[in-house]
């Protein structure tokens, strides 16, 4: 148990140091573990849809930059809700290109958003894995 908790603390520390997740992520747990877990699941589901939509919209010959901006701001907002600071920053960059109707800028920045999202989810998965191990071993989060 000590080992698990130490690994958990180390993981949280490294994620915070890399600014992938900020203190807002921990605040989610103040409303309860189930709430935090459900929120993260909702975020994951919504983010996947948003990224699919962004990719599809950018594939259009005529790009609707207003709608692109709406979707990227939605992703940014929900990222901020779970404390995903770097993802939110990447979304902000893309939103700036949307505002300027710069397709190439949007394409490049969307790739960056996707990279940040993949990194974020891999870290969240690691957190959840350790949480489950701690709970299975009789501990609490």
């Amino acid at each position: 148990m000590q080992e698990l908790k130490r690994s958990f603390a180390d993981l949280k520390y490294s994620i915070a140091r890399e600014k992938i997740l900020n203190e807002v992520f921990d605040q989610l747990y103040e409303e309860g573990y189930d709430f935090a877990s459900e929120t993260i699941t909702l975020f994951h589901s919504e983010a996947e849809k948003s990224l699919t939509e962004l990719t599809a919209r950018l594939d259009q010959e005529i790009v609707n930059f207003h709608m692109l901006e709406v979707v990227i701001n939605r992703l940014k907002g929900s990222g901020l809700i779970i404390g995903a600071a770097r993802l939110a920053d990447a979304c902000l960059t893309m939103a700036t290109y949307c505002d300027a109707s710069n397709k190439q800028g949007c394409v490049v920045s969307l790739n960056h958003v996707k990279e940040e999202y993949q990194l974020l989810m891999s870290k969240i998965e690691s957190i959840r894995k350790l949480e489950n191990e701690i709970i299975a071993a009789g501990g609490s989060i």
């Binding site: 807002v24 605040q27 103040e30 409303e31 709430f35 459900e38 929120t39 909702l42 975020f43 589901s45 919504e46 709608m67 901006e69 709406v70 701001n73 939605r74 940014k76 907002g77 929900s78 901020l80 809700i81 779970i82 404390g83 939110a88």
Partner: protein, 130 residues
């Protein structure tokens, strides 16, 4: 708008196209014992207002497709029936001109996302002492 009763419990209409944000704002409001109806668009918000006369506050995201939170605010404040309902705007962008525009149009407050429990409590307390 109905006067506040039911033991300091408001009926809040939460409007946000993000399911994550709707879930979080609903939870924060319910933690403060308020009743929440959450919808995903300004259009649905207006439909609900027609059906539910006892909404005490609207809290809406700014950036939404089809009808922004600002457009919803204008429609509410332009309505003789609903103009008394306080409207709070939420946004992840801290743009002073946007904030000013919303407040000048009649928004009660402008909250920056991520909205925290203390923000919700502050806004609700103010509404209940109006």
């Amino acid at each position: 708008m109905s006067s506040l009763t039911d033991g300091d419990r408001m009926h809040v209409l939460a409007v946000d196209d993000s399911s994550v944000d709707r879930a979080v704002i609903s939870t924060l409001l319910r933690s403060s014992k308020h009743r929440v109806t959450a919808v995903d668009s300004g259009k649905r918000a207006l439909e609900l207002l027609d059906l539910e006369p006892n909404v005490n506050m609207i809290i809406t995201d700014y950036w939404m497709p089809d009808m922004t939170g600002f457009e919803l605010l204008k429609k509410v404040k332009g309505s003789t029936e609903y103009r008394q309902i306080p409207v709070v705007i939420m946004s992840s962008e801290n743009i002073p001109t946007r904030i000013t525009k919303c407040l000048e149009e009649g928004a009660e407050d402008f909250l920056l996302k991520p909205v925290r429990s203390s923000d919700v409590q502050r806004v609700c307390s103010r509404m209940m002492t109006r």
